[in-house]
Amino acid sequence: MSPMMRGTTDNGLLLPVPDADGEPFWTYAARGELRIQSCADCGGLRFPPRPCCPRCQSFATEWRLMSGRGHIWSYVRPHPPLLPGYAEQAPYNVVLVQLADAPGIRLVGNPVSAPDAALDSVDPALLRVGAPVRAVFAEIAPGVTVPRWLLERP
């Protein structure tokens, strides 16, 4: 069974299951672009993606390119019991990154020492609220790419 059909990477990490609203995010990510949905009428950014603008109710949308820079708003370190693929790398690091270009839009992700490195590849002592990070991209299964985060000054 292919990783896509299984819903996981070869090492057991869950693959995102996009819906119609979220699909463009993942398509752009596969090109190495971090883009956030915005209203084509009033320009307001919104996340997670949705059919219409909560401010002006317009259905006209575009996807705005972000710089990929941000800072850690919060972080956690899960320990087992976890799904097997995650338990193998546990305890690992998960961060919530507030985007520099769009305060209030925060992306969950993993801080890593290199795009393809393991979820536990950063020393947790280096993590702190406010630490600057930048986006990189990792193809975790054929055709599936997720943003990950490098510490700017590790």
Binding site: V17, D19, P48, Y75, V76, P78, R106, N110, V146
Partner: protein, 383 residues
């Protein structure tokens, strides 16, 4: 004159099964046991029941329950979503139905085998409801991982410490010690045990998490007029509210301007607006405690202290018997049982009847809340 729910209905019966990590009977059987116990407590025949309310996550539906326990013709039924956020709304929906003449005797219930049953987040095939595409691939798998993110930020922003979370865990454990029905009865908690416990999701440890529990509970709601003639002292539904804030996202409320102000704030505004008294008049509180972090957040949301002051509020024994706000006097989800918060409703009733195992002397008002961090609900009860 505007219609009101204020004191128009009362909880007149409560019932529950034993609580344990593992119970043999199926959920349907447990549900029926709790419901019949509550009706027996009220002194009302099952054939008089004409309304039911439970959670959307309840496995046994009202058709099965009604025919099993021998209910009469049912003219109102309702299900409330968002897991533990639904607990208090079950009573609120029954109160509204009875007050508006849609029914006369209502039963709310919750039956759950979470201790021995499956955990949804473990199933990779049924994984990933749509919003989870933004969180679970990165390993934010369980509710505790989602709340730990808010806990860390709360600690950073307001100087909350693990000792504050310990205060919450300890208050619940101390009350469980007084409650023979509690899973943690006879198992005291020490600061040393808390601080050296294994991590579940840093910064939250084992004792920051509720118990995996099998069990069921139920309560009976009737009009205030009828309540006065029954065998138990009525516990009046003084005010009720639900809360789904603007731009809320559920457990992962990370994308609002203010992720640390959750649904409690929205429910609280409506709850107090419809009440004759305020937070300083609450004698005892049953606040939803799936995780210790939810307590300081809820204390702020429901107005017991200012923004950012919830952690400090827990100091100096404030949550213990004799403190400023005795909390979760049956032991709560952290130490009595985690049945999606329904045990908090029944414990609120016991306090206002004067029959709690950790009785607050003269308690006449009680706040009960449902899950913070998800669309929620709350009740103000009074004797």
């Amino acid at each position: 004159m505007t219609a009101t729910l204020k004191d128009t209905t009362a909880i007149v019966g409560i019932g529950q099964t034993p609580f344990a990590r593992q119970l043999d009977p199926p959920e349907k059987t447990l549900a029926c046991q709790a419901i019949l116990a509550a009706l027996d407590d009220a002194g009302i025949a099952p054939s008089e029941v004409d309304a039911f309310a439970s959670y959307t996550m309840e496995e046994t539906d009202e058709v099965e329950v009604a025919k099993a326990v021998g209910a009469g013709d049912v003219t109102f039924f309702s299900r409330i979503g968002y897991g533990g956020g639904g607990s208090c709304a079950t009573v609120a929906h029954l109160a509204a139905a009875i007050t508006t003449g849609q029914a006369t005797v209502g039963v709310a219930w919750r039956s759950r085998k979470r201790g021995s049953g499956p955990r949804p987040w473990r199933d990779t095939r049924a994984q990933l409801p749509t919003p989870a595409q933004w969180t679970r691939p990165y390993g934010l798998l369980r509710p505790v991982d989602e709340i730990a993110m808010l806990a860390r930020r709360y600690m950073h922003e307001y100087g909350a410490t693990r000792d504050h979370f310990f205060n919450v865990a300890l208050a619940c454990r101390n009350r469980a010690a007084q409650n023979p029905a509690a899973i943690m009865h006879g198992r005291p908690l020490t600061r040393e045990a808390y601080m050296s416990a294994r991590w579940i999701s840093e910064p939250l440890c084992l004792f920051d998490n509720c118990l995996e529990t099998d069990g069921a509970l139920a309560c009976v709601v009737v009009a205030a007029e009828r309540a006065r003639d029954l065998r138990q002292r009525p516990v009046y539904v003084h005010s009720a509210a639900q809360g789904l804030p603007s731009q809320h996202h559920g457990m992962v409320n990370y994308w609002t301007d203010d992720p640390l102000a959750g649904p409690s704030w929205t429910a609280a505004r409506q709850l107090w607006k419809a009440a004759d008294f305020g937070p300083s008049d609450v004698h005892v509180a049953q606040i939803y405690d799936a995780f210790t972090t939810l307590i300081p957040l809820s204390l702020e949301g429901y107005g017991f202290c200012g923004r950012g002051e919830g952690a400090a509020f827990t100091e100096d024994g404030a949550l213990e018997l004799g403190g400023r706000l005795p909390l979760n006097t049956g032991g709560g989800g952290l130490s009595e049982a985690y049945v999606h918060g329904f045990n908090l409703i029944n414990e609120g009733v016991r306090q206002l009847r004067g029959t709690s195992t950790a009785q607050v002397p003269g308690a006449a008002t009680c706040l009960v809340t449902a899950g913070e961090g998800v669309p929620t609900s709350a009740l103000l009860l009074r004797s």
